[in-house]
Each structure stands twice: as structure tokens, then as C-alpha cells.
Symmetry: D2
Subunit: 442 residues, 4 copies
């Protein structure tokens, strides 16, 4: 996580409950002062004091602080109701202004004032990270969380984000963070990273003026002659870099968020499109912008799914039959459970029937399940961005993780600029747009 | 005004009403698309289109567009009322989230999405400038204006502003803007500016990442041995720069806003305090941070005020008497109306009685009227920032403008860090904190 | 002149002869120490001390110092002769190394060591400026001057110079120096400069890492549709900038040296070619690179030249006749000397005969006299760079200075990349390459 | 080695002798053209062509090229002798100028002109690297080499070098070069480097404008409470960084040259002093600037030295005896030759007599042999810089290399600013200044 300017938390011993209570009280007192008219003239100074106190509280104390935000800094129900009634009776400008003022939770203004001091925004992002983790055990904090998201969404707006290329000229401090945050295909040290920053591999990150030096999200791209079907060649440390003349396809092969405290703030969609625009300008010969993506939820889904479900849930007979065949084959061959079996699969030699069955099921999973809650998150992301389900690739990822999650299958999503808006619209209404070959498969 | 990236408005002929209607329709259609789920995946591209259309409309069309924002993008009264009733019945997190969503005018989200595209924030600032001008004739747009202010206040938050020193190494493009925007003591060309950027004069400006190269506000400071009593020596082009050892007082002698579209967004208060902090670090020997300010409303106020008013409004007898004496003197001497007289005043020779009367009246005006609506704006600004009314200076500004506005009187406001919060609080409650000598005067 | 880091000369009163002698002694003592083996380990510190002492001496003392360099830091004649004899007897590597060491004046190493300290190079440039001025009265310092030139030529080598575009985004400090140093067509304040930095006017300067912020030389270029015939339109403050599509010709209309201490170091030739290369890359449509230049020596030459000389010096009869005609006409019309007459000339109305005579004489002057010592310096510069004498323009410069120096005539020199080397070679051998129309003229 | 801009050498197949001859011919023809008057106007273009041809020749061709520089671009013996005779007869300015011109080898001007083109200086540095390697088999090229050194020494003058701190914010491209070039205590990957760039370890490098991104030399410094006696704690990857308050001593523990082509150009002396100055400013509490250095020549010297030599060469009897005792002990214990024995030494347990003998011999070696040709290069460097021989440390470096080269002994050299000049002077005259404890030891 990023450092909080001027705030040190390192050596503080765990406070006693009594100390904790006093600390919370100090934060609260400062917050009230900051929000009062009295605090207006001096708000940066007061905000700095509150931030310093908050920094000492981390992390249990932060959850308590959020509890106070919920209890003491929410809109007054009676005042809102009154304002809503007046606005309903006569929707005038002054009634609307009064309503808006009454309905906005005062904690929003509190957070805005905290963000005025150096390190304020960074601390708010850090706070939200803790809050998100706490939500499971304290669901009543959902409205507080919604306020954090609302403000961060406004501040980390696409227009405020700065895209920068990450390459071998970047600082070691930044590159170290890239290695640390890569979440899809782990970077195995500096030599691995170095290959991923050669001229035929690109890496772009979003930064925000309030978090200097901190990447928010980054994407890795391979510039290749054809839409790639397997990940290994793209991340092969030994591969010789290709020349510019061979760049026909830009394949996004990894995208990683770096700030858990910004979960839910739309960043990836904007980054992919800004990178595509940038690369198109740099290399006008680029014809195709696609991904090479994992299907992290596929194996789990297949294992959880009984034969009855497969049939009952309206799967076409041909697919249902193949699901059965796939399982029979898998079970028959090894007499073990599917997960173990998959780990031992030798994909090149896989007999055609098993292979076809699994590809069809993967296609079904992506085309039908990704619109449902709990569907594959990577599919949801790219299809939600307006990409098209373009191609399934057998034996695309033979790493342990790839076999375990997707039985080694990978997928290309295609970003066709002129289709994006329409595809997204159809996806929102429950339809996944696929290439013809996938439609035929199902 | 700043330039709008990618948008050109120069050569467009005035459109016919029919064309205008079609243009508005296009903006509206784009806005709806941008705000719809459909637009989500492609929002930067759609926002760019809407911005391009909006740029063609300027300026009458912008007011019409604001009218549409008022009519079509306001919260639904029935839905808000329903949400407020549920929240009042049971103030749960989900009810609050629903309420907040229902109460926020949809145009806020529209503006947030517009700001995602390059030039979006700049256009929103430009739009608000036109909107502010239009409010007089179209007061019903007040709620739309409140939404603009709300968003700009969040984005042009003190934490997001970058303070930079402006000096002779700054680009000519920036310095030209400083000359243009200086609103208090006009800068008479490059030689004048050059003197104001010597080591014993400082200039600092706020910038925002979304308006690169555009100063938002700037302040000019003189580093001097004593609290200054007159403006002429501070802006004398020929004055030899003083050495660092003589810097005891930092006197803010001019502060100018550059962006009318950001009126009402708190910038000056933060700038003054950040500059004071910066200078204190650079020159630890600085003891005093004060202003040398005009009193732009004084002469007007005195002219408008009848003797009856002076007495009736509770002025102490001594002051009322002197107001009378002052007028009598003034009237007797020239037999002309006050305004003409003042223009001809020879301040050094002013006889003591007139001088004392006018200083007392100025003190009264600042100490009592500045807390009222319509009071002196400069006094309101500094006192509201928590400064103290420190000293009145006879013959402080003998320029035509200085004589006309303040009868040549200037005032020092004192920023004492440890008092700022308390002074502000007392000002909010109707009390002006003054130095003892001013209290005695009254 | 540029500032000398850490050295202040401002308030030092003129020293007495005795003080001066002591100062010189200190500089000398430091110089010997710096040059000794003893000084090697500590040379930056010692060099800094010597520089500080030198800075106090300026300027008469600098000339004395140069006198000491001449007397005490020259090669030892006996030692050189001995080394030369041995080398002549056997031209081995060791004999050559010994010879080179013996023949190099020790002051060269002294200056190299002085340049190791901060501000050293700047002071050496400043010293040479004074030395150049002193040469007239102290011609015996020519060898010292040659050493300065040798070292500065090596350090201010084209490969070490950084070319930067000067535009409205440049710092005011730099632009002020541009205004100050413009030597051909004076810049009349900031508004004039601003026009010369619009997109269809360019300015480029050379900088050196050792003189940060100090332009060494700069050139101004107009991007225009045709080879220009007159200066006024190029420097017209009111002229509307042209669009890129009209850029066909890059016309260098002014080139100014900023550092008198670098006289004789080749800068202009490199700058023009680097700028041409740069512009050709930026605007591939550019077809022609030429100048629009004054002929500063023409009027003087014509006045000094008697009719006998014109005839005797081998001028073709046609030209000689016209010289006569020109003078007769001029004399007849005004009965005054030529200089006065020229100041009053009304070029548009000039009758064709006079005009033709003067153009022919200017062509002759440029084509024949510029190869001689004392010929027109601007012609020498461009022709020596390998440019071609392309076109003469009547009434090209109607300013006072233009009329006085060149009778208003201007000239275009053409830089044709493929000809440059050959043209230069012919110029060195006494031939000026001209366009056919000029050859015909003569 | 650094890259040569615009020049690629990668895929060129080995040329036939005939091709090689033609290539050399082209380089030579270009060089003559570049040096001729004809080339003057176009020298950057011609220099670029010659550089491109030269780049194809590398490396055997480069040696041939140097042979041509020796044969064809040397001063003319007859002309020099004539000039020397005239100067000896009358040492006037014009005679001196003529002499200097005649004595300077024309290849110096050729190299200066080559350096005008982009990449010229880089190629000259690369050429010299090859030339230095070739000198052993072609000693007649020494005079050519001297010319290279002369020019590079002038260009890579301390005043032209830029010192920059290298830290974790530096680019990965630079850090990779630091890892590669570290020559004293090898850097074992990025984690090792990271520790050496923490706040209590510093790294500074010199750069030159003509070799952007290329470190010329760098030094590593430890900020510690006491003069260090062993290297292991300084380069321990796990060591916790110390706080600023503990910084009392700056210990230079490694200095590495990166450019073999700059051998003999004084860089290290200047770097150490500039770093010391910089650190003293940053941490005024620093009291001591010293090194912790290996003695790379000690073991070799001891092995090569017979007992007779030890006695004959005037070693004090006490030392001679100990040398004998040391050998006897060493021989007796292991019955093997010294080198093998030393590799197995267990320094902590070494009995006192052996230890004392070896320390005394090391002290003798440093104090007496380092002034002789072939003496310890590290001692020569620091003592020549004016440092003092301060302390010998038993078991200072237990690495394989440390045991093999110095029998594990390390030495501190002390840089005391006020002594540097005097120490250097005494060193030049054959005396090594030592701390009293070392003097006593001998």
C-alpha cells in the first residue's frame, strides 16, 4: 500500500481499550470541529490533525471510526422528509437546493475536507480498503461505504487520471510495484519484467495527482502478428523481440488493479480504451485489439454443476450430453475427482471428444453464465466493456493455475471500436455477443 | 478565458433559430445516451462528442442547455418523497442508499461523465461562467448552478491544487496571463511585472491538473522590514530590491481570481495560508503575515448613508458627530458633492479633523458593516479567513481608483496563525476582531 | 553578459595600483599552484580560489593577467627546439609525445584546470571578451588569444551544443535576452517578440551545458509560401499567422550572436544546418531554405570607391559605366553627397536606370568583393557556409538602417543541401556561386 | 558498453580482407575530406558518414584506422623543426602561433570534427578502448593514444561532468548498468542493490552531456557511526538502515569505472571530493570522510618476494624477520604454498604472531611500495588523491576474493580536506603520509 505522507505508524504498540477510546474521541472531536463553521477558516490545519490521529488508529480503530460516521454523520430523517415534502409540493429551485443539502450525508463533506490536507486522499483510499474488508461482519456500514465510493468515483474520474507508459526507463521503485501487483501471470523477478517491457511488449498504468508514484491499475500488451492462442509465448523470457513491421494485433494479456481501496471505481475500461487509442496512433498498421484472458471460474462451475442441473437449466441436448461424456471420460480415465484429473491432463494428446466437450461447455459458461450474478468476473469485465466473445483456445495456459482454474482453456475477447457501445447495451440486457464460430459451437 | 482543447469556435456564423434547436437537440440526445446504461462502456467517446456539440452552441445555447438540465435532469419529486418516507420510517443503510440516489440530481452524474473526456472540466468551468451571468434574468436556474458549484468545489478541492511560484523564469505565456488577470493594482507592462517578481517580491498561483497552464488565482507578496502603510512603494518599478536580512514582514498586497467560472469555490483562503507556510519555511525570520488592502466599498457606503441613518443605526455619538463634521467640512470646502470632492483631495495636507473623522468612519464601516450582507467584499474575505483588522492607513493609495473607492485609505489585515480559527468563529457570529488601536478609535 | 556563479563584482571600489598589484600576485600564485603537481589533487578547490580572485580584478586586471599568461606561461623555446630536433631525427611515438608536450603553451592546461571549477568556463568566456577588445592596443597578446580560441573551440564544439526552440512558453528571463541580443532587426518590445514566436515564425538557439540559461546564438526563421523579397512583412507585428499548408519556404531572416567572448568559434553555420534539418523533419513539404539578408557593407564600399578604381580593378565596362551613371544621377538630383541622398531615397519611384545600376553594383560587390579581406561580413558568412548567391531584392529594407547600409537592397542566399560542400570549396578558392540571373546581371 | 546512436553493427558478417581494405579506404577518404577546407562547411554531415563507416569496421578495423592516424595524420617533422627554430630565434606571438599549429598532430582536429556529429564522442571513447587493448602488440600507436587521451581529458573535464545521486527512484536501465559495472564488491542482484540504495547508503555517479544515460564512474558510500573495519556489515542485505542521527562517518567502500575508453582521464578524484562536499552540506554532523579499501596487490607481492629481497631492499630488520616468521608459520602449518594456505585461513583464530607479521608487512607494502611503479593501484589512487594511510583492519574482508588478494586485510584511507594538498605533494615526492599508529607499526 502507498505511504501516508508525514504519518508514521510503524512502532506504535497496540493501544489499550481505554487509550483506543480516547483516540477515537480525539478523532471525533476533530471531525466535528472540521465540519463546523468554526473549522472553515482553518480547515487544512484541522484536517492534518485529524489525519494524524486517524493514522494512529489503524486498522480496528478505522472500523470504529466508520461506525461513528454511520451513527453520527448521516442525514437527519425528519429534516429530509420535510424537505422532500416541500419539493414534492412545489419543485422550485430553492426547495431542490434545500432537499439536496438535507439528503447528502454530512460525512461526505467531512471526507471532502479531510482530502484538503496533504495525504488526505491517500488515507481515505486506505480507510476504504479496511472498510470493504469489514463489511462482511458489519453490513450496516454499507451506506458509509457507498459515500466513500461516491467521492472516490468523482475524484478518480477518467478525466483526472494520467496514463503513463511503464518501461525500462521507469524508476525501480515503480517497477517493483508492478512486479508486486501483477495479479494474472505472476512476474518472476526483474529479468521476467525486463522482457515484458521490450519494444514489442507494452505496459501502461494510470496515475492520479493525489497519489504520486502510485500506479492505480496497469495493463500489459503484446504487439504480435496474429491474435494469440496461448500465453506461454507471450511471457517467454527468452523470446526475441519482434520488429515493428510485424505488429498487427495488440493483445491485452494482463490487467491488474493496485489499489484495493478503489474497488468499484471504474478504471480498467478507461485504461484499455485509452491504451488502444494510444497504440493506434503510434502504430497505424494495428488492425485488431483483443485480449488473451483466463476463465478463472470455469473449472469450479463445472465441478459444482450436477448432470441434472445441466439438463434442467435448459442446456441444449448436445451440450448436456457432452457434459456427461466429458465427466464420464474424465472419471473413467483416472478414477479420481475432476480437479486432480485436470492437473494431470496432457492437452496436446487429449482425445478430440473430451476436448470438444470441454470447449463447448466453456463457451456455454461464458455465453450464458457471465450475465448472471456470480458469473466469471473476467468475462463480466470485458463483455461489460463492450468486447465480443471471439475465440476459445484449447491448451492456452498450461501453468498450474491455468489448468486448475480453466482446464488450460483461454479466451480472446475482441474490442471493435464501432461495436463497443452496442455490445455493451446488449450485455446489459442479458445477451452476450459472440463470434459466429462460437455461436455455431453452442 | 482558457482554451478548450480540440474545440474551435472561432469562425462559426450565428446559427438560425432552427439550427440552434437542432444543435440543442443533438446535445440533449448525446447527454441522454451518455447518462444511460448504454453509454457506460463508451462514455469517454460519447462525452467527447457532446463536448464538441456544446462548443458550437456558445454562449446563448449554453443557457438553453442549462434550462434543459433544470427541466429534464432534476430529481423526481415522487421518487424522492417515497425514499424519504421509507428512510424516516426505518433509517437503514439500504434506505439511505436509495434516498441518496433518488435525491441527487441526475445532471450531477451527467457533468461527472462529461468531465471524463479531454477538455470536459474546462468546458464545465466555462459553462458555469455563462450560467452565473444568466442567473439574474433566469433565477430559476439557481439549483442547476448549485450543482455546478457542488461538483467544482469537490474537484477544485485544496488537496488537488498545486501551488507554484511565478517568477521571471516562468513562461511568457503564463506571465502574460498574470498581467491580464491582475485585478487590484494593474500591472503596467513587462517592466512593471519584472519588478514584482524580484527576490523581495513574490507571486504564487494555484493550478489544477485539469487546466494545465491556467492559473486559477494568484497572490502577490512583498517581503519588507515593517508592516506597510502605503501601496506606492510596494509597486514602484524603480525601487531597489531589499536583501534577505531585511525580510521581517510578508505583506499580501494583491490577490486576483483568474477564473470567473470558479466563483464561490474557496481558493483564496487556502492560497494565502499555503503561501504563508511556504514563506515561513523559506525565511524563518519572518514575524508578521499581513495584507495591505483596499476598502473598495467605503466611499460608496459613505455617500449612500444619510446623517439620520448614521445616528439611527446605533453609531456611537462620537462617530455620528464626526460623520456630520466630515460631511460639513467636505461640503463647506468645495460646495460640491462628495464624489467630486474626493477625487480632488490632497491627502497630505488634509486637516487633522477631516482625517480623523474619515478614519473613524472607515474603521466603523469595516468593524460593523463587513459582517452584514453587502458589506465590503475584501473585508469579508480576510475577516472570514480569520484575519484581524489591524491598522488603518491614511493616504495609503493615492491612485485615481484608490481615491475614488476608499478616499485613499488602506487597511492591514493581520494573519496570526494561532488566532485564525477563533477570529473566524467570532466573525461568523457577527463580531469583527480588531487591534486595540482600532477598538479605541471607535 | 552572463552572471558568474558565486562571484560578485558589484560593489567593489576601484583598487589602488598597489592593491591591484597584490591582487595580480595572488592570482598568479594561485595559478602556479594550480598548475603544479602539488595542485593536482586539489585542483577544483584551488581553481575556485583563483576564479574568486580573478573576479575581483575585472576588467583592466584581466588584461594584466593575460600579459602574465603571455610572459610566464608560454612554451620554453629551447625545450621545444630540442624536442623538434629529436622528432625530426627520428619521428618515433615517444619523440612526438615529448614534442607535443613541449610545444603546448602551459597556459592551455591552466585554463583547462580553471574550467574544472563551477563558473570556470563562464569566466574564461568573459575573459576572452576583454582580451579581444585589448588586442588592438596590445597585439603581442595574439598568441594568448589563440590559446583561448583553441580551447573554447574544442569545448563549444557542435556536438556539445544543445539546440532548443525559443517560443512563447520559454521563460521570460530567456526571452528578455533574445530581445537584448537581436542584432539585425531590433525587437521592439514584448508584443514584437510575441509575433516573431507565432507558429509561422520560429526561433532556435544554441545552449551549452556550462552556461545554463545563456543563449550562445539564435536564428529567426519565417515559414512562408515564397522566397521573401522584403523584410517588413516578415516582422510586421500585425500580420496574421499563416497556416501550415502554406509553408513552402523557410527563410532565415536574422541571426545574432550573444557571446562576444565566443567570437571566431563556429556556431552559426552549425545552427543554420541543424535548424534546417529540424524544420525539414517537422514540415516535409518545405522545398527551399534561404535567407533574407542585409548587405551591411555595400553603401560604404560604393562611397569609398572612386570611378578610377571601378575601372582599374577590372570591372566589366558595363558595370563601370553604370557606377558612373549611378553617381551622376544621384549627384545630379540632389547635388549632395551620396550618403545624404540615400537617406532620402524613395525606392518605389526610383527610376529604372538608377535601380538597375545599383542592383548590378550590389551584385558585383557580393560576387567579387566578398571573397576578399574586408568584404561584406554577412556575405562571407553565408557563402562560406556553402550557400549560393540567389537573388537581389530592390527596396527590401526601407528602415533607416537598411537604407543607410545597403541602400535598401536585400539579398537571398540559398542553402541547397546537395551543393553546400561544393559551393564552400569554390568560395574558399575565390569563386562565388550565383544563380543564373545574377550571373547574367554582371 | 554504451550504444552508438544511429549505428548498428549487429548483423554484419565478417568482411573479406578485400572488403576491409575498401572500408578502410572509405573511412580514410572521408577523414581527409572532413579535415580539408572543403569539408568545413559541411562537417557535421561528413562526420556522420565517417562515423557510419567506422561503425562497420569494428574492432580490428579500428586498430588499422589508428595505424593510419599514426602514419598519415602526424605533424610534419620538417615543418615543426622550422617553426621551432624561428620561435627559438624570436619568440614572438606569430612565431608561437605558427609553432603551435605545426606541432599539433592533425588527427586531433580530425577527432574534434568527428565529435561534432551525433554519437561522435561516444565512438571516440569506444575507439580508444580498442586502441588501449591494441597497444601491447602495437606500441608504436602510443602517440595516437596520447592524442585521444588529451582530447578526452579536455572534454571530460570535471567542470563538464554532472554528478547525480543514484537511488531506488533511478531508472531500471541505469541501475542495471550499476550492477554490471560494480568492480569491487559484486552486486548480487536487485535485492542487494536495493539495500545499497537505502538512506544510510549512498551512490553517486558522474555523467557527461555527450553520453546521456551512461554512468562514467560511480562511488558507493556508507553513512555509519564509526570508521568501519570490515566490509561484510556494510553490504549485508539484511542490515536494518540506521537513522540520520547516527551518521558520523562517510565511508567510501567501492568506486568503479564504467568506461574503459576513459582510462587515464581523472574522474575518481573529482567524484570523491564532490560527493564529500555534497554529503557535508546534507549532513553537517559528518566528521570523517574515509574509505574502506582492499589491498589487491598485497598477496601477490608477498609471494613474489624472496627472503633475500626482503632483507636486501632495506626493510627494517623487525619486518624482515616477521616476513620470515610469517612464511615459516604459514609453511609449517599446512605444508603447502602460501596461496593455497591463505585461502584456508581462519582469521579470527589466527595466532597473534602471524597476524602481527602480516599486518606489519601490509603496512610496509602500502607505505613503501605504493610510491613505486607497479605498486598497489588502490593505494596509488587514494594516496595520490591526497588521502592519508589511516588504519589496517585484520579480517576486514573474508570473501574468497578478499582472502586471495589481501589475505583478508583491509585498509582505511582518510580524506582530511585541510591535508589533501600537502599529502598529495609529499606522495608525489615519494612519501606516504600515515597515521601515527601505522608509523609506529613499521
Amino acid at each position: 500500500m502507498f505511504s501516508l505522507p508525514r504519518l508514521s505508524r510503524s512502532a506504535t504498540p497496540t493501544p489499550t481499550p481505554r487509550e483506543r477510546a480516547r483516540q477515537i474521541e480525539r478523532v471525533l472531536e476533530g471531525s466535528r470541529r472540521l465540519l463546523s463553521e468554526r473549522g472553515e477558516a482553518n480547515s487544512v490545519a484541522i484536517a492534518s490533525e485529524v489525519l494524524a490521529e486517524l493514522a494512529k488508529l489503524h486498522p480496528e480503530g478505522w472500523v470504529e471510526f466508520c461506525g461513528v460516521l454511520d451513527a453520527d454523520f448521516a442525514p437527519d430523517p425528519g429534516r429530509v422528509l420535510h424537505a422532500a415534502e416541500r419539493y414534492a409540493a412545489e419543485p422550485s429551485a430553492s426547495h431542490l437546493i434545500a432537499l439536496t443539502a438535507a439528503a447528502e450525508p454530512p460525512r461526505q463533506e467531512l471526507l471532502r475536507r479531510l482530502s484538503r490536507a496533504p495525504g488526505g486522499t491517500a488515507l481515505i483510499v486506505a480507510l476504504r480498503r479496511v472498510l470493504l474488508d469489514a463489511l462482511r461482519s458489519r453490513p450496516e456500514l454499507a451506506a458509509v461505504e457507498a459515500d466513500f465510493l461516491h467521492l472516490l468515483g468523482s475524484w478518480f474520474n477518467a478525466g483526472f487520471l494520467q496514463m503513463e507508459q511503464v518501461d525500462w526507463r521507469s524508476s525501480a521503485a515503480l517497477l517493483e510495484k508492478i512486479i508486486h501487483h501483477e495479479a494474472v501471470h505472476a512476474i518472476d523477478g526483474w529479468a521476467d519484467l525486463r522482457r515484458r517491457l521490450q519494444p514489442d511488449r507494452r505496459c501502461f498504468a494510470f496515475f492520479h495527482p493525489q497519489l504520486p508514484g502510485e500506479p492505480l491499475i496497469f495493463v500489459e500488451v503484446a504487439l504480435v502478428p496474429e491474435m494469440p492462442a496461448a500465453i506461454a509465448p507471450l511471457i517467454d523470457k527468452q523470446a526475441a523481440p519482434r520488429g515493428e513491421r510485424e505488429f498487427k494485433v495488440a493483445a491485452f494479456y494482463s490487467i491488474s488493479n493496485c489499489q484495493p481501496g478503489l474497488r468499484g471505481v471504474s478504471l480498467g475500461n478507461f485504461l484499455i480504451k485509452r491504451v488502444a487509442e494510444h497504440l493506434q496512433r503510434e502504430f497505424p498498421q494495428l488492425r485488431t485489439f483483443c485480449t488473451l484472458s483466463p476463465i478463472p471460474g470455469f473449472a469450479d462451475w463445472l465441478l459444482r454443476r450436477s448432470q441434472q442441473q445441466v439438463e434442467r437449466d435448459g442446456l441444449p441436448p448436445r451440450v448436456a450430453e457432452r457434459a456427461h461424456a466429458a465427466r464420464a471420460l474424465l472419471a473413467g480415465r483416472h478414477g479420481a475427482d475432476l480437479a486432480a484429473l485436470v492437473s494431470g491432463i496432457a492437452p496436446e494428446a487429449a482425445d478430440a471428444e473430451l476436448r470438444d466437450a470441454l470447449l463447448t461447455l466453456a463457451g456455454f459458461y461464458l455465453a450464458h453464465e457471465s450475465v448472471l450474478p456470480g458469473g466469471d468476473p473476467v468475462a463480466k469485465f470485458h463483455l461489460g466493456n463492450g468486447a465480443r466473445l471471439e475465440r476459445l483456445n484449447w491448451a492456452g495456459d498450461l501453468s498450474r493455475k491455468g489448468l486448475k482454474q480453466s482446464l488450460g482453456i483461454m479466451v480472446n475477447y475482441l474490442y471493435a471500436l464501432e461495436e463497443v457501445e452496442d455490445n455493451h447495451d446488449r450485455f446489459v440486457h442479458g445477451e452476450v455477443v459472440s463470434a459466429r464460430r462460437i455461436a455455431r459451437l453452442l
